[in-house]
């Protein structure tokens, strides 16, 4: 399998604090990988370095053969990378349809955008609220709208930061199905805390601790790893 995303020695420092410390990471085509770790482990900072929201202080990021270290987020997105942030990042003053259409319009132009927006709305079951202003929706609905924004652009690499956060059990189940569906076409990285959710979707997991990769491998093997249990679940677990 060929690698679509690779980091070599990726480092991000804020003053004297090293949030991401010399991380080597590799993601294969159409792979689904979960990043886990305790709070402050550096997962979200690593994620933001990949999307261009933060400029790394050291190391290298390569996406589909292009070195993207220090690129602005819009250039990273134009490579075909879709990003869902931790807190739903949507346009409250626009309708659900407009939110999704604008994403598809950037990649596919006016006519195809209409079909892609319709398709995303149908896949995410947003039809009944398609004309509602996003600012009036519940948290779970906003999460789905943001996912709609991501998938309408038809990315081949999707980065999802806590996609199941704040959702009901039913919504989490539906989100797992959607992610499995998306994974047929795209490689996906998910930053997540919900272990049950991770078990339901992931085969391979990367564990972050103190800005470094502590362990990497099959989800069940990782859960049995004593080092992971110590740092992530607590020593008594």
């Amino acid at each position: 399998m060929s690698s679509v995303l690779e980091t070599r020695g990726l480092t991000m420092q804020f003053g004297g604090v090293t949030a991401v410390d010399n991380v080597d990471f590799r993601l294969e085509r159409k792979e689904l990988r979960c990043l886990i770790g305790p709070n402050g482990a550096g997962k979200s900072t690593f994620f933001k370095c990949l999307t261009g929201q933060l400029k790394p202080t050291g190391g290298q990021i390569t996406i589909e053969g292009e070195e993207t270290t220090g690129w602005d987020p819009h250039w990273v997105a134009r490579l075909g990378v879709g990003v869902k942030t931790q807190v739903p990042s949507v346009m409250d003053g626009l309708t659900v349809r407009e939110n999704i259409w604008l994403s598809a319009y950037r990649t596919h132009g006016r006519e195809k955008a209409r079909h892609l927006a319709d398709d995303a709305i149908e896949r995410l079951d947003l039809g009944t609220i398609a004309r509602s202003l996003v600012g009036r929706l519940s948290h779970g609905e906003r999460q789905r709208v943001e996912l709609g924004i991501v998938i309408a652009a038809e990315p081949w690499l999707i980065l999802l930061d806590e996609p199941a956060a704040g959702m009901t059990a039913e919504e989490v189940g539906r989100m797992a199905d959607i992610i499995a569906e998306l994974n047929k076409e795209a490689a996906i990285i998910i930053v997540e805390h919900d272990m049950q959710f991770i078990r339901s979707i992931a085969r391979k997991v990367t564990v972050f601790s103190q800005g470094r990769i502590l362990a990497e491998g099959d989800v069940d093997a990782i859960m049995r790893d004593q080092r992971v249990r110590d740092v992530y679940l607590g020593k008594k677990a």
């Binding site: 999307t51 929201q53 602005d72 987020p73 819009h74 997105a77 134009r78 990003v83 942030t85 990042s89 949507v90 346009m91 409250d92 003053g93 626009l94 407009e98 939110n99 604008l102 994403s103 319009y105 950037r106 990649t107 006016r110 004309r131 509602s132 202003l133 009036r136 943001e146 924004i149 652009a153």
Partner: protein, 345 residues
Amino acid sequence: MAGSQVRQTAIVLVIAVIAMLVAPSLIDTYTLTVLIIYGMLALSLGLIWGFGGILCFGQAAFFGLGAYAYAIAAINIGESTVPFLVGIAVPFAFAFVLGAMMFYGRLSDVYLGVITLVVTLILFKFINSTAGPEYVIGKARLGGFNGIPGFQTLNVPGDPSWYIYDRSFYYFCAIALLVVYALVRWLLASPFGRIAVAIRENEQRVELMGYDVRFRKTVLFAIGGAIAGLAGTLFASWAEIVTPGMFSLSQSAEIIVWCIVGGLGTLTGPIIGAMILAYLKFLLGQQTLFDSTLLLGLILVLSVLFLPRGVVPTLALLYSRIGQGRRRPSTRATARRRMRASADV
């Protein structure tokens, strides 16, 4: 443009045309003309602030630049057609360069306000200090505090002796405002406009979609500068003199007050706010009992306290509620329509 937006724009234009024809029987055209010009100036800020989320404290800079560019070009050329275009192009280019420096420099919010304010002050100070004979552009002396008088005012293209003045100038300005309004509505309904609104709502998300936010903000800022420049060009022809006062802080502050009182996030709000408040100031200027600025300040405070969304959105909301009461529906769709109605006028 969607069908409802076309209908809404058509209704606004029809009402505006009727008002344009009726107004001269109530107020003299000389005063009406400057009210229209101020309306256009307010529209320029209403566009970039209300729809692009860019609070510019220096909209007067583009207004003054438009006026000065027109006056200087008119003195040198002697006919108004090219100077008219120069009066729009110079503020556009200036706003484009200034905007690029600010947005590509990742300045936002309060810093953007401070920079635009400082630029206006610099221009004000600079123009004020150009009284000496060395400050000449072609045949035009900048004139310092006294400004530039005696330039060719607006004429029919190709015939410098056929002036557009008095009632014809009033109609010219009114039609210009209607055309600019229609163009801005079209712009906002286009993908460019929707992306501008999306940037106002969530800049980070728009960037993550792959749009170059900095470039789009720069273009919108420059369009706002061009509209303010057009207003300045018309003002120069109306006043037949341009002075450094056009760059003043009080002028900049007034434009912001017009937009707040009229209603941000709408196009008609800033226009109506500007016309009402400028006329009020004109009426109050004829008495010496108290300073008109005090009353304008009071209106601003009362407006923020009791009509925080502004006059026009509040009226649109009331109208929508009355309509809803007649039709008696209580669906989510109606609530949504009401909210959109107040934002789209």
